[in-house]
Every structure is written in C-alpha cells, then in structure tokens.
Symmetry: D2
Subunit: 375 residues, 4 copies
C-alpha cells in the first residue's frame, strides 16, 4: 500500500490540505495503476507561491581558475577531449551541468595552431574573449578574428569551428550555451561536420562590417533568421557606446548605464534563447536592489566591485564570473571611486519574454538596498 | 578521490573520449572544489545526437478513469482538496507530475452548485469540456458558459474560477497546464483572490461574441496581451470550420484536415506557452508518419481509431487521452469507414517555435508508414 | 516680368507675409530660370492650418441610377466598353475621376452568360454585390460565387475576371478601386491576360472555406502577401457577427456597432491601400459627430436613415452610396425605430495609418451633435 | 450637349474603344446630372499600361544656386518670410511645388544668431547640411548640433526649430519634406508653437548618443513611434560605415555600395513617408541601369560623375541635387578613377512599400546600360 507523502499540505483557503486516510491511500494506489494521481497530493508543491530557484549564487574567480584551465592543455588532447573546457558547475544544478538556471558556461583554452572540429547543434552558444592573441571562429563560412572582451555568436544550427592562428598565443574565452534548456525541452541535435572543417566563404569579419553600423543597414539586405546576422560585437565600439550613452542618460537605478546587445534587424535579443548586455557602473556607483525572473551570469569586463545577492555580499574583479539566480534580490557596486566598472551579462531573458514569464520587483524597504547579512 | 563515471565516452571524431587516469581524477577533485568540472566528462551526455524524450507514450482510457474521477467527489471536499482532479502521471515524468514533456493534464470534476476559489498563477491553463451541463468559468470578470467539447483559456496571470450552476449536472473536463514548464523556468507565482471570488463584469460570453467572428474584428478593438482575447472556442463552429475546410483541402499527409486554434489578433497560438489544434481524419483515413520536436497531448473529441507511436499501436476512442513525446514517430488512423474521427491536441509548439527549436522529419521508409511491432 | 501672386500672405508670426516688390519680382524670375522658386511665395498655401478636402459630400441614389446602369447594357457592348460601369464622379475630383478623395467607385452591370476579359493591375479593387443571381469572380484561379451584400477582393497584382452564369440574371455590383491614388503615386501597371481568361484551379470558394473560420487557421497555412487570403466575405456571417457583437458592446459613440473586415493573418486591413467596415445602427440610434483624416465611401447595406456631414443633412436608403470627405464632421442616424440600419464602408484608412497620418477629433460642442444648416 | 473627348480609345482587346454617337453623348449628359460618368470614356486614361511620371529629370547645380540662396538673406527678413528657402520646382510638378513626385525640397539659409519660430506639422522633414558652422536643430526638446553632410530628422508631429549659434557662420542646408503628399492625402496640419520657441530638455545630441550605437540598444529602451528616435545621423560614422561595408560586399549592380538610413528600433525606414540612403560609387564605377516605382532625389555628398536617366546624360558634382522620376531608367557613374563618389538619396520608398506598390526592373538590353541620346 502506498505511503503517501502528504508533506505538501497547506492550511490556506484555496490550497490543498487533505489528510491521508486508509481509504485515500487505497484510492491513490488504484490511480497509480492507470498512470494517474490525485492532484491534491502534489498541488501545493507544483503551484508554489513564488519561484524558488534551485541555483545558488556563486563567484568563479579567474585568479583561482586560470591555472586549472591552462593545465587542461597538458592533461588532455583536443582529439580526445573534443574541447578543453572547465565548466561552471552550480551546486544546485549539478544534475544538468548548469552555471545558473538553464545556462551552461565554461572556460575554454586553445593553443596556437589548434583547430576544433567543425560541428553544429540546436543549442546556441556565445563566446566572450578573455585573453590571448590570434583566436578566430568560423560560423557558417564567416571567419571572425577575436580580441579581448569581444562577444561572439554561434547560433542554433550554424556550423562553427574555433581555432588559434599558428602565430598566436594560448587563448582563453568564456563559452555560454543554452544546452541545459534545449536538452530539457528535448530538442537538441548534434552533428559533426562531414569534412570536420568548413571553408571560409566570405571576407573576414564581413558580418560585423555589414551589419554593425549605427543607424545604417545594407541596401537590399534581407535577414529573417531567428538570430542576429552581426555575429561579432567588438569591445572597443561597445565601450565607446556605453561611454556616449552615459552622457545622455542617468542610467537605470538597478543596473547603471546598461545597453543590450541586439539583433540589428529586430532590435531584439541576439538569439532566441539567450540575451546579453553590457552595463557600466560609474565610479562609486552603488545601485538599488531589484529582483526578476530569469537567470543571469555576469562576467566582469572591466574594474572591480561587489554585488549583494539575497542579502549576501560577493566581491568580484576583472574576469571573474558570478551568477544571480531567478527571483533573487541583487544590487551592484563599483569598488572604485575613479574608474568605471563594466559587467558583461548573459541571461535567458529572451525565453522569459517570449513565453510571457518576465516579472520584476523593486525593493521598497531600506531605501532600496538590502541589509547585508553579517555586515 | 573521485570515482569519475566515464560512461559517456564516444569514439567518434569531434566527441569526447577521455579515459580516467589517477592524475585526471585528482584534477577533477580540484575542479570540484571551485564548483567546476571538466567538460569532456559530461560533453557527450549533454550533447546527444538527437532528442531522447523522457516521456513514454500512454493512452488514458476514459472508460477506466471516469468512475475514479467521480469517486473523488465522495472522497474529498473542495474545501480540503482545492480542486478535485485526477492528473495524468507519465511514468517518465513523475518527478514533475507531467502528462508528457512539460505539460500537466488532469480530469476535473465538479458538482452542481459548487464554485472553486478564484485564483491566478503564471502558469497558463486550458479546459476541454467532456461531460455535464451548467459548467461555467469566469476569467478576469468574463463569464463563459461551457458545453461539450468547448475549448476554454485561462491564460497566465488572469483571475479565474470554475463552477457549475445549481441546476446543472456533475461536470467533467480536461485541464491542461504548463505548470511543469513554468516551474522549471523558475517563474511561477500563485495567488488566491483576496475576495475568494471575482465579480462578473461583462455580458456573458462577450469575448467570444466580440472576437470570434470570421474575417471581422471589433472596430477600434485593441488587444496587445500575449494571449487570445477569444477565451472560449465552441465546438459547433469548430466542427463546422473543419467540415468546410475539408471541402477546400486535401489535408496534411501527417495530420489530415487540421486547423490550429489561434489568437485572432495575431493568427498565432492562443497562448505563449501552449498551442492547440483540432484535426479531422476522414472515414478510413490513415496518415503517414512523421516526427517533430515538441510534446503533444491528444484528446479524442469524436470517433475512434488508433495511432502508431514509435512503432507501437495504441487504440483510442471518444474521450480517451493519449500522448506523443518529442521526436517520436507517429501516425493516426480513423477506425471507421463511415464517420469522421476528430482529435483535439494540446502541445508546446509555441515554445518550440518562439525559441527556434522546432524541427520536423517525415518517415521516408516503407512508403511513409511505420512497421508495427508485434503486428 | 513675373506677376507674382502673393495672395498667400498670412499676417501671423511664423507664417510668410512678404509683399511683392520690383526687386523681389525680378529675383523670382531669376529663380524660375533654374527651376526654383522662393518658398515664402507658396509656403502658406502648401502648409495649411488643417486639411481642406477637395471632395464634397454627395449621395448617389440607387433609385435614380439603376435605370441608367441597366441602359448601358443596351448602349455599349462589353467588347467595346471593356466593362459597363457608371462611375461616381465627385464634383471636386473630376480631374481624377474619384468618388471621394483618391477612391474610385462605380456601378457595374453584367448580363447572364457574359464574361469580362481577365486582367490585372497594381490598383486594388473590391466589389460589393447589389442585385442579381449567378455572378462570380475568379481571382488568381480561385472562383467565388457572389450573393447579395457579399464583399469581394481583387487585390493589387492578382489576375481577375468577372462573369455571370448563363442561367443567372442581370447582376449589378459596386466596384471600388484605389486607381486615383495609384495613378497619383505613379505606380499603376495594367495587363490583359495573355489568354484573355484564366483557368479555375481550386475548389469553388476555397479561400473563404479555408480562411474564414472564427479563431481557427489552417494548419501549416502560410500567407505572407500584403492582402487577405479570404477573398470573399459573405453577408450572412457578417450580419450574424454584427448581431452577436451587438450583444457584447455598447458600440462606438460615433459609429454604432462597427466591425472592420480584416486579413485574418494580420487582423489588419484587407488590403494595403483600402479598408472596409460594416456598422450597425440600432433602431433609433443617432451617433455623435466626429471627424478624421481619410476618405469614406458608405454603401447602405440595410435600412434607411440620414447622415449629417459638415452641418448638412443627407438622407439615404438601401443601396444608396454616399461619401464623407477627409476631416469632415459627420454623424449617422438610423431612420427606423424598429429595424437595424447597416452601412458598408470603403475607405483609405490603411493609407492614413501606414503613413502615420491618421488623426481624429470628437465634436465637443452642442452635446456632440452638429447644428443642421437649414433645419 | 456634351462634347465628349473620346481621345482615350484603345483598339486592344480588354480596353475601351467606344465611338461617340449622339445617343451616347445624350446619355453622358444624363449621367453628369447625377454626378456620374461612363467608365469607358476614361478607362484607358485612368488605367495606363505603366506609370508615366509627370516629373522630369533635373539637375540643380549648387554653383548656380548658392548666390541666389545667399541673396535671399538680403531680400527678406526671417520675420516676414518665415524661412528663407529657395525651393526646387520641377517643371512637371509646379502645381504642387514638388522637386520630384510628391517630394518637396529646398535650400535654406540662416545667419548666425538667427532662430526660426518653433512649429510642427503633419508633414515630415529632413535636413542635409551643406555648409556653415554652428547650425543646430531642436526637435521635441532634443537639441542637435549640425555639421557638414549630417542628416537630420524632424518627423511628423514633432515641434522643431532651427537656428545658428551667434558665433557661427551663415549656414545652408537642404530641406526635404513630404508636404505635397500629405496635402494630396488631405491630412496636413500646421501649428506655430504657442511660445514661438521650445525649451531644450535633454543633453545635447542625446538621441544619437542613445540610439546610434552599432548592435546595442539602451537597456529598457522603449520606442514605439512611427519614426526613428535617432534624430541625427552624422557624416563621419556614415562614411566609415560605407567604407567598412565596401570591404565586405561587391555592392549592388545598380547602386554600388549602398546603405539605407534606418530607424534602429525597426531596421525600417527613418520615417513612414520618406526614406534615405547613402551610396558609394567606387573609383571608376559605372552601374547598370534599372527602374522602379518611387521618386528619388539625389544630393551629391562627395565627388563628381554623371547619371544617365531615361537615355540622357546628366553631369553632377559635389552639392548638386538631381532627381529620378518614378519608373525612369537610371544608372550612375563615378567620374573619378581615384576618388569615391557618394550620393545621398531622399525618396518615397516607404510609401511604395507600405502600400504594396514597389516594383523594379533591370535593363536587359545592351549589357544593362542605356544607349545615351546624342552621345
């Protein structure tokens, strides 16, 4: 006979609150025979009052990780490993190998002269370049040279391969993918390129030269795919854009001077499952706290400071990565009185918005800042 | 020391194939200290060649379930149970109480004179009416009378309550919700209405009278929400539409004469996370097999027949419910040579499409039909 | 020397008010040599304070016109005339043969057994059927049978031909076209079908059967053209829709119970240059006055009554046609205390909206109704 | 009795070809009494085989016009003239004061320290800066500094005023407006600002700093108006964009390396009635001929060369303006073997596209180039 766990009872009008009885337990057994159950035994569990993220806040410190990333070069060959990547494994998401929510992230390293096998998958990927010279990516025949803090797309379904020129230096970048989400949605396909490599079919960096121009679009240009044709967003124009925008805006109380990377054809997110933004915290700026649905993975592009997440302080410096789980209170502070701090952010906001699930709340108490636990 | 499971090795170029060594196991332990891991130990697992659905095909037979549904009325009170619902519990999805994929479904029963507490949640819901007289739903103040095979929406964020008029009969309907998905996305909120009930604020059935007219929209009508303003789709005009469309089309080789329920403002899906369609199989029709991403839950609105899912035959008759998991081969057959068979279908296609993950494949072998196992 | 007309002077700050002088007149002559002029000589003329329509209100009475329309059958052959049409020639728009603004309209007659030559043009056309049995239209191979008060599209660029079955009766319908607009925009092309006729390629009335269903769209249906795929909107379902909608709405204070004909794929106008609506005035209803940009041509589909346009009363009865010029005050009154009155309306609202030029104003004085001149 | 002009007869099947007879002329008289006419008397005129533009090609040479523009400063005061503008008066469009088609253009001059009265109108305007220092425009409170070849919007309905700083120099720019179109559509409204001037309410150039960034949009930025929020498009980044794009494309056979100015929110035209583009002809480049619907007004931003329009050669140099009427064959040639030539173009393409009237044709004969008359 079933030993029903009725630990989901809730003594509130409109909620389930049914005590187990022998008769009910027998009934539950019968229901199980037909692959069914009684809703009131699980209703309160599957209809929570508000989101309880499985993810926990983590800061991954580059200072600590860098040597381990480099060591992977000695430990495994690209042939055996496919790619040499140390992935960020959120303690609450180990079952799906996610850094936060449904987002996977890792630090990949590649030596000069190495080339990864060309492949494609339904998962979408981004790269954010951390160090090294000579890295490049080829996406559907478009070759892109990669520099410090450049942001690059390898969207859903595109053939792509990564490499470092023979005269380059060891290169490290952050990979970000929606693999956990696409797996959960049972929609992931993976293919290795039949030739293991793909030919470069266009002038180098042509997509950025064609689509990355302010207020101008290529005449007769036609692009209807679900992702941005501007595969690479370089750091210099991005930082310049933030600096110009900073002259024209007070910024967001929660995020400082923030800009979203966009598909220039739609002004919407760069890909359908992942969005990205870059935000500048002015010297000494400390933002107000808010929370929203959606999982966020921050990468410190410039400067240092700290964030307060669900009442706990997390310090960060350049190249560190940290996460903010869904519906967690968070606020950011630039630690310098003289320099900008700039945060790159990868998130699943496009999913929240496409599905009508985005929700946001400002902290009203305490002048908008969280009391810090232990502070 | 870690006992690494390297059971995800794959001896194919471009895939991970790293053997455990003491040195690597030590390395994996170090990585774990920093909440990280080595991608090549999980890469093949998280990047499968194609989707492997956790769900299994099931037919829930109304003949078997009806008495159990009715018995719940005797076993629990609405006050204690919240709602008296027997939910469909797919053997592969018991952890999330889903009928298939990320879709929850149940059979709800309500007696004359009963009213459920008004509430709202981020999850979206549909109802498909199975039997009884006098049921009605109120959605954001719009009251709708419900009849056999009517399809009704209670979208994300709307206040709603269900009831049966005092002079009605016991009513049973299918509920369908995206609760598992919204929970997984960590975006579910739940509220009981402060007054436990909501007032009826508009003429009865006004939304269908306003928005449910062929080729005509209310003058000055303005609707920008993410879901259809036509909250109720009645059976008679739906069946008439199918019959008319059948005169104008050969139909789909895979789905017969199929129409999608739409938001009349966008011609897109009725809600952002769930779609629905109704398909008519002509007398004697047996469709070809195809497979696609997305999870499907069928409800037999009329007639009888069978489906072949991943090579196995499943018979169904009126009011039965059955599921087709993501990427499962499937084909349908009307069992009658004289009567139409009509299938109502609830699915997560809007999620697949919004996120760029829809993919479809026709079966090329065997003239497009699956060999049936054991047949 | 130029005799400058300086009758456009306006003694208001910010307006041009330059007196002719000999020196200026000489200057104007020099400018003319280079195909230029001085803006201040025409500025006030080309920048009016508000629109002054060239069109005047007219009622075309079917009682008067019918016999003349029928007489054209005796007077000219279809071979010589192309089509036998009496067009509505607004006194203010004779230069462009328009009924109002940039809209052309005419009454066409066709005898049983006659067929017009198939042709196409960049101008878009509508037909509204007035009397007779057996008329049909073929649009891009889709044949449509036509009945009383049916509304039919022959959009921009589609091959079309009109005919009456041999066993029919003489048929009269209203044609409406954007010919004057498309000519003014220098974008009109005209072609006679190389075979003079086009084959019927689909089941009769297939487009209405496929696309004219409330809240349902054909599965896999794909339509991206700029006009509605639902080529025919029949009178019965239209009148039924108005009647149902009347139960759910108070209606517009200016237009009664009004519904717009829409492209079901976009919920927008049926064509890019012309819109249409149908409005029901309840027994005894007399609407408030408003005015807006855009030209309107009304056709009395049912009942009788009057409209007040720019302060003058215009009576109308079934099958009469009347126009309201851009920015003219107008209000409508049903003349019956027992019967509905229903007005079909053809307009250029899609042009106004697409170009950002729509503007509307309610009459505030006199409780919202115009004083009637001479009343 | 009417003296019918039957000069529109056309002896082609499907066209009208009715000879006047006394009986018909009497009939025409009767029709005229009811404000109607017989279609066959005008059908061929109003349904031409293809567009016949009323506009003629013209080159307005800056060398000739500049002194006349400057002289207007001596001849009229801003108070009397409103604005000192010499407008381009196409010989075929004098009735509507248009430069080509429905586009008005003029050369405006303003002295240091002068300010024009703030006003707004339903017509949309652009400015293209030709010479001088210190000019600025204020649009809805947003002040923009203006430099050589900058392109600026003053959209439909926005308050705007133009001025030159007291320490500037005399400034000349091209104005372009859709006044003739908006008048023809009977939708033009004009208002002088109640305070004659509008306050500057934002940081200088804030809209360009906010919206003019490649691949980045302001976080939380929300813009739903029908025109671009990027009111100013500066010359330097535009020319840089063309140069970069030139590295990535072969260019169009008809237009060289062409980019369209866009509303960054939609990637569509900057305003709903007028579009603009900038095209670079490489040294020695001579394009192929094509024709399309829509009226084009070119302004030579850099370099010199010639265009062939409907078989006639028109030479141009920097700051010259020339027009290409609708459906006129045209091709362009850079006159230099060493320098780029760059053409700014203002057009009504958004109207053509919104209304479904765009049509294009390449010249097939003579290897794609027109024989030049008299060459």
């Amino acid at each position: 006979m079933a030993t029903q766990n009725n630990d989901h009872r809730d003594d509130v009008i409109g909620r389930a609150n049914v005590e187990d009885t022998p008769e009910l337990l027998a009934y539950y057994d019968e229901l199980a025979e037909y692959e069914t159950g009684a809703l009131w035994t699980v209703a309160n569990k599957i209809e929570p009052w508000e989101p309880q993220s499985a993810s926990v806040p983590v800061v991954w410190r580059y200072k600590q990780l860098r040597e381990h990333v480099l060591r992977s070069v000695e430990l495994v060959t690209p042939e055996k490993a496919g790619r040499r990547v140390i992935y960020l494994n959120n303690p609450g998401r180990r079952d799906v190998s996610a850094a936060v929510g449904w987002i996977y992230a890792g630090l990949q390293v590649m030596n000069p002269g190495e080339t990864a096998t060309a492949h494609r998958h339904s998962a979408s990927a981004i790269r954010f370049i951390m160090e090294g010279e000579g890295a490049y990516t080829v996406v559907d025949g478009h070759k892109m040279t990669l520099g410090h803090n450049d942001f690059v797309l390898t969207p859903n379904g595109t053939w792509h391969e990564h490499a470092v020129e023979a005269d380059g230096t060891p290169c490290i970048w952050q990979d970000g993918l929606d693999i956990p989400l696409v797996n959960a949605l049972e929609a992931n396909f993976f293919q290795v390129h039949p030739d293991l490599s793909e030919p470069v079919a266009y002038p180098v960096d042509d997509m950025t030269k064609t689509w990355g121009n302010p207020g101008l679009t290529p005449g007769g240009g036609d692009w209807t795919k679900g992702y941005s044709p501007m595969f690479k967003y370089e750091w210099e124009p991005t930082y310049e854009a933030l600096s110009k925008y900073a002259e024209a805006t007070d910024g967001s109380p929660f995020d400082g001077v923030m800009m979203d990377y966009v598909n220039p054809v739609t002004n919407g997110p760069v890909m359908q499952t992942m969005g990205a933004s870059m935000q500048l915290l002015r010297p000494g700026e400390h933002t107000k706290a808010h929370r929203h649905t959606g999982s966020y993975l921050y990468h410190v592009a410039k400067g240092s400071g700290h964030s307060v997440i669900n009442g706990k302080r997390y310090d960060w410096e350049e190249k560190d990565i940290f996460c903010v789980p869904s519906w967690a209170w968070h606020e950011h502070a630039n630690g310098s009185e003289n320099e900008d701090a700039v945060l790159f952010c990868l998130n699943d906001l496009p999913v929240m918005r496409s599905l009508g699930l985005y929700r946001e709340e400002a902290l009203g108490d305490n002048k908008g800042n969280q009391p810090v636990i232990g502070a």
